[in-house]
C-alpha cells in the first residue's frame, strides 16, 4: 500500500504558529536580544556580550532577593500543601455540603490578585483593619508597614489564604478518585487512621500532590502583584522578592539590559527547580526498579 501524504494540513496549523510566534517566541527572543546589549535610550544601544549576566550573578541585592524568594516559597509550600490536604480530608463526600463547600473554597481563587493585596492592606491596618485592630487590641503591636517580621507574616498569610483552596480542590479530586475498596480493605485489616493515611491516601495522592507542589512552587516563585500591592517590597527591602526586584530594575531604572539578562536567569532557575521537584516526586516510593 502506498503511503498517503497530504501536506495541506500544515496550512491549518499555520495560524497557531503565528499566534505562538507573536505572543511567545518573538518576545522571548527580544529579551535575549536585550540581555546582551546596553541600552541608553531608543536607538542607542551597544553590544556587551555576557557582561550583564556576570553582573547579575554577582549582584548582592539580587542574591538577597533570591534567598528571600526561596524562604518565601519554602514557607508557602510547607504550609499550603499539608493544610490543603487536611481541608480536602475534612470536606463532605456526599450530599448538599459538597457543592456548597466547593464554591466556598473556590472564592479566594476568583479574586483579582491586586485586589487581594488591597483587601489585605486594609484588613491588617492597625487603625481601621479588622485583623489589625483586633491584634493590637489584644496588646500585640502589629504593623506590617513598620516591622519586617509583621510584613512577612502578613504576606505569607495572604498567600496561604489565596492559594490553599487550589491545593484543597486538587487533593479533594484526588481523594474522590480512590476506589472505596481500598478504604474498606484497610478497615478490615485493622489499620488506624494514620496507617490508612500513610499507606492508602498518600500513595494514591502522589500524582495530584506532584501537580499541586509544582504549581504552587512556580506560582509563588514568580509572585508579584499581591506582595507589591501589600508592602511595595518594604519595609525597606524586607519583602522584595525576585520579581519585584526585577521590575524595579527594568521599569524603575530603565535598565533593560541587566533586567533582560536577569529575566533569563530567573526563567532558568524556575525551570531547574521545577525539574528537580518533579524528579524527586516521581522517585518517591518507587524503590526497586526492574
Amino acid at each position: 500500500m502506498d503511503k498517503w501524504e497530504d501536506n495541506r494540513a500544515w496550512f491549518l496549523v499555520l495560524p497557531v504558529f503565528v499566534v505562538v510566534a507573536f505572543s511567545a517566541i518573538i518576545p522571548l527572543m527580544t529579551v535575549v536580544n536585550y540581555s546582551v546589549q546596553d541600552i541608553f535610550g531608543p536607538g542607542q544601544r551597544v553590544f556587551v556580550g555576557t557582561e550583564w549576566f556576570a553582573d547579575a550573578l554577582s549582584d548582592r541585592r539580587l542574591h538577597e532577593a533570591l534567598w528571600r524568594q526561596f524562604l518565601f516559597s519554602g514557607l508557602v509550600l510547607v504550609i499550603e500543601i499539608p493544610l490543603g490536604v487536611l481541608i480536602a480530608l475534612a470536606m463532605p463526600k456526599r450530599g448538599l455540603g459538597v457543592p456548597f463547600s466547593l464554591v466556598l473554597l473556590a472564592l479566594p481563587l476568583l479574586i483579582p490578585w491586586n485586589v487581594i493585596g488591597t483587601i489585605w492592606i486594609i484588613f491588617t491596618r492597625p487603625d481601621i483593619g479588622l485583623l489589625g485592630v483586633t491584634i493590637n487590641g489584644l496588646g500585640i503591636p502589629f504593623d506590617h508597614t513598620a516591622s519586617p517580621l509583621d510584613a512577612w507574616i502578613t504576606v505569607v498569610a495572604m498567600e496561604v489564604w489565596h492559594w490553599t483552596p487550589l491545593v484543597a480542590l486538587l487533593a479533594y479530586a484526588g481523594l474522590r478518585a480512590i476506589p472505596e475498596a481500598y478504604f474498606q480493605a484497610a478497615r478490615i485489616d485493622g489499620a488506624s487512621a494514620w496507617a490508612t493515611f500513610r499507606y492508602v491516601l498518600l500513595p494514591k495522592l502522589r500524582g495530584v500532590l506532584t501537580i499541586a507542589i509544582l504549581l504552587r512552587f512556580m506560582d509563588s516563585f514568580l509572585i508579584y502583584a499581591e506582595p507589591f500591592v501589600l508592602t511595595g517590597g518594604g519595609p525597606g527591602n524586607a519583602t522584595t522578592f525576585l520579581s519585584i526586584h526585577l521590575v524595579k530594575m527594568a521599569v524603575g531604572q530603565f535598565d533593560l539590559g541587566p533586567a533582560a539578562a536577569f529575566s533569563l536567569i530567573y526563567f532558568l532557575i524556575v525551570l531547574l527547580f521545577s525539574w528537580l521537584f518533579y524528579q524527586a516526586l516521581q522517585n518517591v516510593g518507587q524503590g526497586e526498579r526492574r
Partner: protein
C-alpha cells in the same frame, strides 16, 4: 470458624424507602454453617454485594441481627468481627512489599514480629507467593494481587470467615481456574467458612459445596448444585441455573397427566398428589436436558414442530413449538434431530410442577 446466622435482616440504601423495590435486602433469614463453602449467586442488582457487606460489617442493616456462633455482632464494626473480605478489585498497598502487605493485618494488631514472620511464611507458601515476598506489590499481575488480598485474610489467626465479592472478575480467563483451585485447596486445609459472591453460575457451581440463589433481595434457595439443578424451589432458580434455563409452560392437571396445548404429558404420583391440593395457576417445569424428541409418536408424547436447531459442538439446542408455547431442548450431538413435525416426551421423573412460581411437586 464460625456459624453465621442472619435474622430478619433487611436493608435499604435510601433514607426513607418508599416502595418494596427500594429495599436491597428483604426479610432475610439465613444460616451459613461453620466451615462450609458457599456461593452466593444471582443477577446484577439482586443484593449479593449488599448481603456480603452486611455480614462483614461495612454496612449496618436497617433491620435484623447478625450472629456469629450465637453472638450478636450487629453492633460491632468491621475490624471487631473476625472477617476478611476479598474485593472485586485487587487491593494491595502500593508502597509496601508483598511481605509487608501480608504482615500488615498482624502488625496493626500488634502481634510480635517473630510470629508475624512465621505466619506470613506459612501463608505465602500456601499461596505460592514465597518467591515474590521481597517484591513491591504494585508490580505484580492481577492474579498475584488477588492472592495477596486473600493472603491478608488468611494470616490472621482469628479469622472465622472469608467473604469474596466477585474476586475473579479482573483475572485473565486462563488463570481463573488456577485461582479457583487454590481457593478450594485453602478451604480444605483451613476449613474456614467461605462465602463467594458471583453472577457466573459456572464459577458458583464448581467452587461451592452449597449455592444460594438470590434475586431481588431474597435468597430463593440454598442447596447443592445437584439439588438446584434437579429440584429448583422457585421459578427463578429454574430459569437462572442451567444453560439454557428450565422450560416453563402453563398446564392443567387432569387425571394422571398434565394437559398442555391439547397434549397429555404423564406425571409422577408425587406431582399429582401435590397438584390436587394446589390452588392457582399451575406450570410444568422441565429442563432442556431431559426432553426427548422422536420422529415416531409414542405413548404420552406430544406433537410438536421443530423451529430451529443450534449446533454448539458437543450438543444441540433445539427450539420447538408446542401449540403456542416455545420450548428448548438440549440434545447430544450424535442424536438425530427430526425436522418439521416431531414427538416430544417428558419423563415423569423430570417433570416439576410450580404454583405461583414455587415448586409444589
Amino acid at each position: 470458624m464460625a456459624r453465621i446466622a442472619l435474622e430478619q435482616v433487611a436493608h435499604a440504601y435510601a433514607e426513607h424507602p418508599r416502595s418494596d423495590a427500594e429495599w436491597a435486602l428483604k426479610d432475610l433469614d439465613q444460616v451459613w454453617e461453620d466451615g462450609g463453602a458457599y456461593a452466593l449467586l444471582g443477577p446484577s442488582g439482586c443484593g449479593k454485594t449488599t448481603l456480603l457487606n452486611v455480614i462483614s460489617g461495612l454496612i449496618a442493616p436497617r433491620r435484623g441481627r447478625i450472629l456469629f456462633d450465637g453472638r450478636d455482632v450487629t453492633g460491632l464494626r468491621t475490624e471487631q468481627r473476625n472477617i476478611a473480605q476479598v474485593f472485586q478489585f485487587p487491593v494491595v498497598y502500593d508502597t509496601m512489599t508483598v511481605f509487608d502487605n501480608l504482615a500488615f493485618p498482624l502488625r496493626n494488631r500488634r502481634i510480635d514480629e517473630t510470629r508475624v514472620r512465621s505466619r506470613v511464611a506459612e501463608v505465602a507458601e500456601m499461596l505460592d507467593l514465597a518467591e515474590v515476598l521481597g517484591r513491591r506489590a504494585r508490580r505484580l499481575t492481577a492474579d498475584a494481587k488477588q492472592k495477596i488480598s486473600l493472603g491478608r485474610g488468611l494470616v490472621r489467626e482469628d479469622v472465622a470467615a472469608i467473604l469474596f465479592d466477585e474476586p475473579l472478575t479482573v483475572i485473565d480467563p486462563g488463570l481463573k481456574w488456577q485461582l479457583r483451585r487454590k481457593l478450594k485447596e485453602v478451604h480444605k486445609r483451613r476449613r474456614l467458612t467461605l462465602i463467594y459472591v458471583t453472577h457466573d453460575q459456572n464459577e458458583a457451581l464448581t467452587f461451592a459445596d452449597r449455592v444460594a440463589v438470590m434475586n431481588e433481595g431474597r435468597v430463593l434457595q440454598v442447596g447443592t448444585p445437584q439439588a438446584l439443578f434437579e429440584r429448583p424451589a422457585h421459578r427463578f432458580v429454574g430459569y437462572f441455573i442451567g444453560s439454557p434455563g428450565m422450560n416453563f409452560v402453563p398446564c392443567v392437571v387432569e387425571g394422571d397427566a398434565a394437559l398442555v396445548a391439547g397434549a397429555r404429558l404423564p406425571l409422577a404420583e408425587e406431582a399429582l398428589a401435590a397438584a390436587r391440593v394446589a390452588t392457582g395457576r399451575i406450570e410444568l417445569g422441565v429442563r432442556p436436558e431431559h426432553l426427548r424428541l422422536a420422529v415416531e409418536p409414542a405413548k404420552g408424547a406430544a406433537e410438536v414442530t421443530v423451529r430451529a436447531v443450534e449446533d454448539l459442538g458437543t450438543y444441540r439446542i433445539v427450539t420447538i413449538a408446542l401449540g403456542e408455547h416455545v420450548l428448548k431442548a438440549k440434545l447430544a450431538a450424535d442424536r438425530p434431530v427430526p425436522a418439521g413435525a416431531a414427538y416430544l416426551s417428558v419423563p415423569p421423573a423430570a417433570a416439576r410442577l410450580y404454583a405461583g412460581g414455587r415448586l409444589i411437586g
